[in-house]
Amino acid sequence: MSAERWKDDEVLLDRLRKGSPDAVNELLRLFQGKIFNLAMSILKNESDAEEATQDVFMTVVRKADTFKGNSALYSWMYRICVNTCLMRLRGKRRNETVSIEEFMPVFTEEGMHASPMDDWSKEVERKALNEELGQMIRKYTDQLSEKYKVVFVLSDVEGLSNEETAQILGLTVPAVKSRLHRARLYLREQLSRYLLEGKAG
């Protein structure tokens, strides 16, 4: 992002290339949490995510000298992580994911929302609900197919820009926007159901 950050990346990479143990430690400290989280959200399995994280760090250490400074270090690492995880997923039985279409807003012929549209935005202001809500968001995110989930995790959870996410995944920005939007619609709908109906049940 900032010039400073790029310079920091460069310094860290340079130390990595020279095989400095401190640099490896620093890399782990900065990224192991993020990489593990991303791997978990794609693979949904702790031991797979652990192996994938290991692979990612080994790749980064090995390829430190081929890294071109035209993207930030974290976006390079995310890209390696996504590739590593998707490669692991391939060949494995596909995880069961829900059809996202069912959760898109439906309109009547008059252009009205077909299902009742309640406002629960005030509801979730209660702090007591936060922990539960966080878990729900995680649970619903896990139900998304990788296509939507990776975009959602990178953009909305990790807070990357649409451009960065597009670069990491090799997608166009409009494609990222559209997947992100659909993921959010799905999540919004699930949260609605949870907050409005789940109460009773």
């Binding site: 490896v24 989280n37 080994m58 807003p105 009742p116 406002d119 966080g134 878990q135």
Partner: protein, 163 residues
């Protein structure tokens, strides 16, 4: 289109129209509010949504990566040194074969045409042939690099000496 509306990249005129519709339409207003809340909450609750790396995974990872990472440059150095030793050996072999007239025809042709345009290599080979001395184990750097390039231009698997 809604995606553009929510991330603020919608064209202003359209946006204004949509704004005024939403202000009057309760379901749409509720939709817009809950959509935004969904996004806001995701950001806010990021720490709960992210998977935390368990302590045992963390320590295994650190041990593994650190030990492997430290061994790696050592392995690379070792590999490069080995490759270099092999190259020196091969270059000396090629020069010996050239002097003894035991090059394969394709290599002989390459050496010959190279010597025709390279006074340094021609001088080197002529020098050894003329003096009739033994081939030094390590040729001068420039000769070494020319011969290396010659060898690299051979098709893979092609031996440079006569069987």
């Amino acid at each position: 289109m809604l995606a553009d509306y929510f991330d603020g990249s919608m064209n202003p005129r359209l946006r204004e129209e949509l704004d005024s519709h939403i202000a009057m339409c309760e379901p749409c207003m509720n939709f817009a509010r809950t959509y935004r809340t969904t996004c806001d909450k995701t950001r806010e609750l990021r720490a709960d949504i992210e998977y935390q790396i368990p302590a045992d995974v963390r320590s295994r990872l650190e041990n593994f990566v650190l030990s492997a990472a430290l061994k790696y440059p050592e392995m690379v150095r070792e590999y490069r040194a080995q490759a270099e030793r092999e190259r020196v050996e091969k270059v000396a072999g090629l020069i010996r074969a050239a002097i003894a007239g035991k090059l394969s025809s394709i290599t002989a042709l390459l050496v010959e045409s190279h010597c025709a345009i390279c006074p340094e290599c021609k001088g080197y080979f002529d020098g050894i042939l003329g003096a009739g001395t033994a081939v030094p184990a390590v040729p001068p750097t420039v000769i070494h690099s020319h011969v290396t390039r010659l060898m690299e231009s051979l098709p893979p698997g092609e031996e440079f000496f006569l069987a």
